[in-house]
């Protein structure tokens, strides 16, 4: 009985002289990895245009249905989200949406300081999500690879050859 009590007190004494791991938040901030799944942003491509093409893949992937999108077409033929909403009351920060995004528009940042007292403030519209940089992938532009004539003439994308003429007799 005495041995067990002394052994337990010894644990307490040893811990008293160990260096504490507590991070004194908010004066000290924790260091998080670059891949940390924090606040979600919509990024822009190198030309400065928004990357999102409103393909609905993120809203389909989301396990809690927190993303709502309405797609539209710009005058130059570019598909874009007229309205894009993420309800962060529901979001579980799993990252499936960012993983699904084919244009690398939707990305997660290291920012986790999003707390609000009113749930309505946690419904982010496009203007709350859109940033003016390319996030973790500054060089990728989906429209260069897509094979449609929106950001460049038909046949002048990265993977394309100029348009074929089906009426030509030449090989």
């Amino acid at each position: 009985m005495l041995k067990e009590t002394l052994s337990g007190l010894g644990v307490t004494l040893r811990q008293m002289f160990r260096k504490p791991v507590t991070v004194q938040y908010p004066e000290e901030k924790p260091k998080v990895p670059d891949r940390y799944r924090g606040r979600i942003i919509l990024t822009r491509d190198p030309s400065g245009e928004e990357r999102c093409v409103a393909c609905y893949l993120c809203s389909a992937a989301c396990p809690v249905d927190c993303i709502t999108i309405a797609a539209a077409e710009r005058e130059d033929g570019r598909r874009y989200p007229e309205a894009f909403r993420i309800n962060f009351n529901r979001c579980i920060f799993c990252g499936l949406c960012a993983e699904a995004c084919p244009t690398l528009a939707l990305q997660m940042t290291t920012d986790f300081e999003m707390a609000e007292t009113d749930g309505r403030e946690l419904i982010y519209e496009k203007e709350d999500l859109l940033v003016d940089h390319g996030g973790k992938y500054p060089d990728y532009s989906f429209w260069d690879e897509a094979g449609v004539a929106v950001t460049h003439a038909m046949g002048h994308g990265h993977q394309d050859r100029p348009p074929s003429d089906p009426r030509s007799n030449l090989p």
Binding site: V53, A54, C55, Y56, L57, S59, A60, T68, A70, A71, A72, E73, R79, E82, A83, R85, P102, T103, R120, I123, E125, K126, E127, F142, E145, A146, G147, V148, A149, M154, G155, Q159, D160, R161, P162, P163, S164, D165, P166, R167
Partner: protein, 815 residues
């Protein structure tokens, strides 16, 4: 019957079955791109590869679609060789495929996507530049994106071979085969919408649905198209309280897998911002309880004071069967004796009822939609099918393609003229021609029975040898079919059509007879009519003898100014509808009702097939109309705005409860059961289920009704005007859609070359008819009978002018 082993399963198939169909029977889905059961097999895509061990014991790789099942064959689709071949074929197809799935509307329902993932591909292993094409403007319905093409040829096979279109084809060779028009421009075929469904990739997509939603987000209903009497089955798709698209739903007994452009792209009226969605009573917004209370009390009071015969209840052919039944039920109890009409157009009412009587009296099987293509001899008379019932025209074309004989005795035929023997027949002569055909069937005996005069004059109408040829062909046919219109038929012709079928029956054949009816429910409306009630109602209305009226989904276009004015002087006018219009503004009580795609109900198609439908969406203001700037709405409510709309049959039941005190049917099933009990004709209603093939009504239970349709005035009356639908632009619901109007163009009357020459016509005409002058564009058409003018129904016409009346015509130069 050959018996084969398919992936280990033993099946017996009909001789001549290819291995794809044999696989389907065995329960094995063989992947295909170019094979289509209605378009045939071409073996272009190579994706249906399978291994066959024949009688000699040797195994070969064959294309399933091009191989006929032979007795004793052993087929495997999952062996290493077949799987590898499929995998490589799909990889080669993907070499040139653009990286545009995120922005392609086909995503989520793309057969190429599905097969690529199924074959396990994820990356393009070569870095060869991709071949590209310039796209074409193909009209307001179809978007063109040629880079996505995998050269399966389905589009050109359908458009040229199946649908007979001339302006779209394949050009080029090798890896640069191009599917498009010779020059960019609207696609001319009224069946171009099928390209969207047929194309296995996203080359042809629905322009009206462009960039709206993904298929997995849509609320999809099982409904029936409300734009004509064929009754094609559809899948309307809605999201965020907006009807976003209409797709075909397969029904082997009706439309198969095809739809026409009117049905696929004519849905704009559902989202029309001018749609009335709020109850109004005496000019002010009101609640349902207030409006129903007022209307019910007024109806009861009129019945007590003046008698129920001073009440008029009118519905139209676009109302569901249950709506018509509820209207009949309203005229019971204290309102017994109220006058009920099931049509809102007196000319169409008498023709539809006469057609139904002729069909019922003929005593032969109805010519169902699916029967048309199976006929070996088909006679089409008194109609331009592509304008009145487009899918029936598409089916009629298949008769000729399959080696059968197709005859047309019509006016204004412009679709079947390249595959049929066509004669332009003046509608006033049609009865004679049909009698001549009947005479040619029965020989001397048949002629004497029907009291036929021989058509001696060769002038206008069919030559005597043509009617003889038609009669002989029908008599010798194994599966003869007769399909008649209704708008262009007079009493004698409607009767002669039925008599012709009877003559065929007497000669030992089993003919099938069909008519075109107005609206999606013309047959149902005719089946419920006990006579031509509307004419008498309109006369009494004008004479001030009607005191109160309930109008359900009516359009006042066929009513003249005096009749419409008389509506304003009624003690009570109750209007139920979902379309905006002058009637709705006149109404003392307006009750907003649902459109077809928002309703549960049933229609009866032109062959008497009862088809139930279920709604795709609830009505209400679309979410998009409530946007904050460009963000989704942030309003907090208990119900969507403008959603307090009822189905028409529900509203009528509630009105009956308010007027007569008898409790309203609480569900559609209850209403249907009550109607089925009351009338044997509606027995199939009890089990009517949306999403099934539908149930043919028993023609033997249709009550005999006396109806007299006058004969058209003879052909020597100058120019006689006949109003007719046109494929796009004249049908009431679809013509509210801007893309449909743009593709239809302004209406033009059709005139024969001889008459145009006599008038010195140069693009336009001025018509004096019914005391008014109408300026209209006009076009010469070879197959318009001399002495007639075919006027599209969307041209505003003075009411009360009978079909086939003579008009004074002068040439005009159109700007």
């Amino acid at each position: 019957m050959p018996e084969i082993l398919f992936d280990g399963r033993r099946v017996e198939v009909e001789p001549g079955t290819n291995l794809v169909e044999a696989g389907r029977i065995a329960g094995v889905p063989v992947p295909v791109f170019c094979y289509h059961k209605d378009l045939g097999a071409v073996g272009a895509c190579r994706v249906c590869a399978c291994t066959v061990k024949g009688g000699d014991g040797k195994s070969r790789t064959v294309m399933a679609c091009m191989t006929t099942a032979q007795d004793g064959m052993e087929v495997t689709t999952l062996d290493k060789a077949s799987v590898a071949l499929r995998k490589y074929v799909v990889e080669w197809l993907m070499v040139n495929h653009p990286h545009d799935c995120p922005i392609c509307d086909e995503g989520g329902e793309c057969q190429l996507q599905d097969l690529t993932i199924a074959c396990g591909h994820g990356q393009r292993r070569v870095s060869v530049p991709k071949r590209t094409f310039d796209n074409q403007y193909l009209g307001e319905f179809i978007q063109h994106e040629m880079n996505r093409c995998i050269t399966c040829y389905r589009c050109s096979r359908f458009y040229q071979e199946y649908a007979g279109g001339r302006d779209f084809s394949a050009t080029g060779s090798r890896d640069r085969v191009y599917f498009g028009r010779f020059e960019p421009g609207p696609l001319e075929s009224p069946f171009s919408g099928n390209l969207v469904e047929l194309c296995p990739t996203g080359v042809f997509t629905d322009k009206l649905f462009r960039y709206k939603s993904r298929v997995w987000d849509l609320e999809i209903g099982h409904s029936v198209c409300p734009h004509c009497s064929v009754g094609c089955n559809v899948h309307p798709g809605a999201r965020h309280r907006e009807l976003q698209r209409v797709r075909v739903r397969e029904n082997p007994a009706v439309n198969g897998v095809f739809l026409c452009d009117r049905g696929q792209f004519g849905h704009g009226y559902v989202n029309d911002p001018r749609r009335p969605l709020a109850v109004r009573s005496q000019g002010e917004p009101a609640t349902w309880e207030q409006a129903l209370g007022l209307a019910g009390a007024e109806l009861l009071s009129v019945a007590h004071q003046h008698g129920a015969s001073r009440l008029a209840f009118v519905a139209s052919t676009r109302a569901a069967v249950e709506t018509h039944l509820a209207l009949e039920a309203l005229a019971e109890g204290p309102l017994l004796g109220a006058r009920v009409a099931h049509f809102d157009d007196p000319e169409r009412e008498m023709r539809a009822i006469a057609a139904l009587q002729s069909l019922a009296a003929a005593g032969c099987d109805p010519l169902e939609q699916s029967d048309i293509a199976r006929c070996d001899v088909l006679l089409v008379a008194g109609t331009s099918l592509v304008d009145e019932a487009p899918l029936a025209a598409l089916a009629a074309r298949q008769v000729a393609r399959r080696g059968g004989k197709l005859f047309v005795l019509g006016a204004g035929e412009r679709y079947l003229d390249d595959v049929a023997r066509v004669a332009a027949v003046h509608p006033a002569r049609l009865a004679q021609e049909l009698k001549a055909v009947a005479a040619a069937i029965g020989g001397a005996a048949g002629g004497a029975e029907l009291g036929v005069r021989a058509t001696g004059t060769a002038g206008d109408g069919a030559a005597p040898d043509m009617t003889a040829a038609i009669g002989k062909a029908l008599a010798a046919a194994k599966r003869p079919g007769i399909l008649l219109g209704s708008d262009l038929l007079d009493g004698p012709a409607l009767a002669a059509g039925g008599a012709l079928a009877q003559a065929l029956k007497r000669s030992g054949a089993s003919p099938r007879l069909g008519f075109v009816f107005p609206g999606p429910n013309g047959f149902g409306a005719a089946a419920m009519s006990r006579g031509t009630a509307l004419g008498a109602i309109l006369a009494d209305l004008e004479a001030g003898k009607i005191k109160a009226a309930v109008l359900v989904e009516c359009e006042g276009g066929a009513w003249d100014a005096q009749q419409l004015a008389a509506l304003r002087n009624l003690e009570l006018l109750v209007v139920l509808d979902h379309l905006p219009g002058p009637l709705h503004e006149t109404a003392g009580v307006f009750l907003p009702t649902t459109a077809t795609y928002e309703s549960d109900g049933a229609f009866v198609n032109r062959a008497g097939r009862l088809q139930a439908f279920a709604r795709a969406r609830v009505p209400g203001a679309p979410v998009h109309s409530l946007f904050h700037g460009s963000s989704f709405p942030r309003d907090y409510r208990t119900a969507p705005p403008l959603s307090d709309v009822r189905m028409a049959w529900q509203a009528l039941e509630l009105l009956r409860e308010a007027a007569a005190g008898k409790p309203a049917a609480r569900s559609l099933a209850e209403l249907r059961a009550a109607s089925a009990r009351a009338n044997a004709l509606w027995a199939p209603l009890r089990h009517a289920t949306p999403g099934t093939e539908g149930t043919p009504l028993d023609l033997g239970t249709i009550a005999k009704v006396d109806v007299r349709v006058p004969a058209f005035a003879g052909e020597d009356q100058g120019l006689a005007a006949y109003r007719m639908d046109r494929t796009l632009g004249s049908e009431l619901l679809s013509r509210r859609s801007a893309p449909i109007l743009k593709m239809a163009g302004p209406p033009a009357a059709l005139i024969s070359p001889a008459d145009a020459g006599k008038l010195g016509m140069n693009g336009g005409l001025g018509l004096s008819v019914g005391g008014r002058t109408i300026e209209i564009a006009a076009r010469v058409h070879d197959l318009v009978p001399e002495g007639t003018l075919l006027v599209p129904r969307d041209v505003e016409w003075p009411a009360g002018v009978k079909q086939g009346s003579a008009v004074q015509v002068a040439a005009r130069v159109m700007a």
